[in-house]
């Protein structure tokens, strides 16, 4: 329905005053859907170094962290109750005199993080391995924490 506004200019004003707004809402929905598919948008960046991935199966927890350039004996790993504490320091060796740096992107420094696991764990059976700069810790759950299958009669 074409109307004439006060300045004599034909407009579609009465049909649907919210048309422009609806179109914007649709575009925002489309944007969030696309962003949800992108891998990096699903992650909530942690504020403490190192970033860890924790996975579990019925018997164990698996904790992995990327710690390049750190040797196995430079990591301090402790288990206390349900918490796993990882700390250490990354050092970058100095390269001697007369070097001109083109880029410096790698960082050095201390790190310390305590990770709370959701269930009770067996602190006697913790196995930690450091391979190629990736720390993998396998922690067994206590018997009480393992899921029990209930048979339905």
């Amino acid at each position: 329905m074409i109307t004439r506004s006060t300045i004599n200019f034909p407009s579609m004003g009465w049909k649907n005053p919210f048309l422009g707004l609806e179109r914007m809402v649709q575009q925002m929905d489309l944007l969030t859907k696309t962003l949800h598919g992108m891998p990096e948008m699903r992650l909530f960046p942690s504020s403490v170094f190192p970033a860890v991935n924790i996975t579990e199966d019925n018997d164990k927890y698996y904790v992995r962290a990327e710690l390049p350039g750190i040797k196995a004996d430079e990591i301090d790993l402790q288990v206390n109750g349900r918490n796993l504490a990882i700390s250490g320091e990354r050092k970058i060796q100095s390269e001697g005199g007369n070097t001109r740096y083109h880029r410096r992107e790698r960082e050095a420094g201390k790190f310390s993080r305590v990770i709370g696991l959701p269930d009770d764990i067996d602190s006697d059976s913790v196995d930690a391995k450091m391979v190629n700069g990736v720390l993998s810790v396998v922690i067994s759950k206590t018997e009480a924490s393992k899921p029990k299958q209930i048979i339905v009669k």
């Binding site: 990096e40 942690s46 403490v48 170094f49 190192p50 924790i54 579990e56 992107e105 190629n132 700069g133």
Partner: protein, 134 residues
Amino acid sequence: MAESKELQVKEKQELAAPAEQTRSGLIFTPEVDIFETDYEITLLADMPGVAADDVSIDLRDGVLTLSGDVKPWDNSEESDVLVEFEIGKYYRQFTLADVIDQNKIEAKIEDGVIRLTLPKAEKAVPRRIKVSTG
């Protein structure tokens, strides 16, 4: 005594891939330190999860290509509790201004850090030219 600073989490930088891969997966750019002395250029790259067999270094036409494959862990049985970083290959390219003696390139990988030593060719080594008076 100076306290060394605390490390902060840096999100892994994903590469906006110019060419599509044949297999799906993420590609990240590794963090590098590059420095040179009079005789060589050294590159240090952080590539955790990459073993010595999975690194490929290519130098042609003055372009250095560094890539590393990361074996995905086999966690089909595991369910995620907390995921803070993704796993993917590493890839980075550099153009080199200096001429490199290709026969003397050395590469070493240790604890997920690769150290690449590129000796400069004879003609690229800076020489001091003595200026005589008279």
